[in-house]
């Protein structure tokens, strides 16, 4: 029992900030992968053939229902030659794409039927229908939900420490083990998460209200 050591906390902070940059990088790139891949999955899920839609739905359901940590550790063990950070970003992106695809799906379903019919009447190609009419309306509605997934991905980036990505929690664990100062390192890391995620979620709430949800 040795209480909270302020000196240790001060020492650990620069390391944590260093790790925090990796945390942010992983979040931003992971969100990007999830946003793009999720859209592709959502569009593929509306393909006219069941040979496409059924497997797509099965895979998203599977990814959605299984633990991220197992996916991460498994992928890292299989692709040992790839850099851990890359593996982490891809796995995070794929995992969250299973969620964002459902968000896009709801957004696409929200576009009135008349818009599809008008496109048909104007004999627009499917490509132009999607690009010029459907997606611009759908994407606007799903932005707040995508933001929320970004926040929740941010809170799950510590999982990356397990596959030796040197993000903030990795640094916290290392500092804790080296100086026997787990209390200080983990408390600070938790506070950094709180300070970063709370204002973001307030912002998202505002955005949701503005877009009329």
């Amino acid at each position: 029992m040795n209480g909270f050591d302020w000196n240790a906390a001060r020492d650990a902070l620069p390391l944590l900030i260093e790790g925090f940059r990796v945390t942010l990088l992983a979040t931003v790139l992971g969100t990007l992968v999830a946003a793009v891949l999720g859209l592709a999955v959502a569009v593929a899920g509306r393909a006219p053939s069941r040979f496409v839609t059924v497997p797509v739905r099965a895979v998203t359901e599977f990814v959605r229902s299984t633990p991220l940590l197992v996916q991460l550790v498994g992928a890292a063990a299989l692709f040992t030659s790839v850099e851990p950070l890359t593996v982490g970003i891809v796995v995070l992106g794929v995992h969250y794409a299973a969620y964002t695809s459902e968000v896009y799906r709801a957004g696409i379903d929200g576009v009135p039927r008349g818009q599809w019919e008008a496109c048909r009447a104007l004999s627009l190609s499917p490509r132009r229908t999607w690009r010029a009419v459907i997606l611009p309306q759908a994407v606007r509605n799903v932005l707040p939900a995508l933001g929320n997934y970004a926040i929740s991905m941010f809170k799950e980036t510590p999982f990356l420490a397990v596959i030796t990505v040197q993000e903030m929690v990795f640094e916290a664990r290392k500092y804790g083990a080296d100086h026997f100062a787990y209390t200080e390192a983990f408390t600070l890391a938790g506070l950094v998460f709180l300070v970063a995620s709370y204002p973001t979620s307030l912002l998202m709430r505002k955005l949701e209200k503005r877009l009329g949800h």
Binding site: F62, G74, I151, T187
Partner: protein, 246 residues
């Protein structure tokens, strides 16, 4: 591939005990979370400003700091700070309970808010006491709204249990990884592990659908035949910043 499965069946007792730890953590964690979500959720719709404030702070705190850090803090930091040491499994149950309880509180609050105003007013007009009103009028209706969101939370909680491996509780992931190390069959091991979690998630979803059916029937709402096998709703109410059941 055969190596892995023969090892899997040779070590079946161990696999079973790992599965048991995972299930124990899920069920106990979920119960703790359920209790906390009702406590915090009811506080946040109460009339006392102090209680509302406390509930708000607790919810934002446990939602804002990552579950991973909460678990590690309990396991590594709390013993040096307070002298108390928790068993790995208990550590997991407490961390899961606190984290998902905070998310669940938002679900409870959202569901209670979504019960039409008229129901409150009718209950007041009938001169029901606040407790009676809550128990007989508001909660039965709110409960139906909560179940789909609770299902999502439960599956998410299940998906977090592999974290126990990191604090050396012998859960399913730990056991399967030991088998992998012995047989060297990485792909088979992890695919099997994912498949087991998938089956567990589906079984839990089915149970929750049953619960929802029962709750709906008690309110006299229609319950379609297909509702039982339906997969859980796609949008996670939990991750939404505004939370609640929508």
């Amino acid at each position: 591939m055969n190596d892995f499965f023969s090892a899997f069946f040779d070590e079946l007792p161990q696999v079973r005990s790992g599965l048991w730890v995972t299930l124990e953590a899920t069920v106990l964690g979920a119960l703790a979370a359920l209790l906390l979500s009702f406590a915090l959720g009811l506080m946040s719709v109460g009339r006392l400003l102090v209680l509302r404030g406390v509930s708000r702070v607790v919810v934002e705190f446990f939602r804002g700091t990552s579950l991973y850090i909460q678990l590690f803090w309990l396991y590594y930091a709390m013993p040096t700070l307070t002298g108390y040491e928790l068993e790995p499994l208990l550590c997991g149950v407490v961390a899961f309970g606190l984290n998902y309880g905070a998310y669940g509180a938002e679900v409870v609050r959202g569901a209670i808010d979504s019960v039409p105003r008229g129901q409150y007013e009718a209950a007041v007009a009938l001169n029901m006491s606040p407790l009676h009103r809550m128990r007989k009028v508001i909660l039965p209706q709110a409960w139906v709204q909560m179940i789909p969101s609770f299902t999502n939370l439960l599956i998410q909680l299940l998906k977090c249990t592999p974290l126990l491996w990191l604090i050396s509780a012998a859960d399913l992931m730990t056991v399967v990884q030991q088998l992998r190390d012995r047989t060297g069959e990485t792909l088979t091991a992890y695919v099997t592990l994912l498949a087991v979690y998938f089956v567990l998630a589906y079984a839990l979803t089915l149970l929750m659908n049953l619960l929802e059916r029962g709750a709906k029937r008690r309110l006299g709402l229609p319950t379609g035949a297909g509702s039982l096998l339906r997969s859980r709703s796609a949008t996670e109410a939990v991750t939404s910043a505004s939370g609640g059941a929508r």
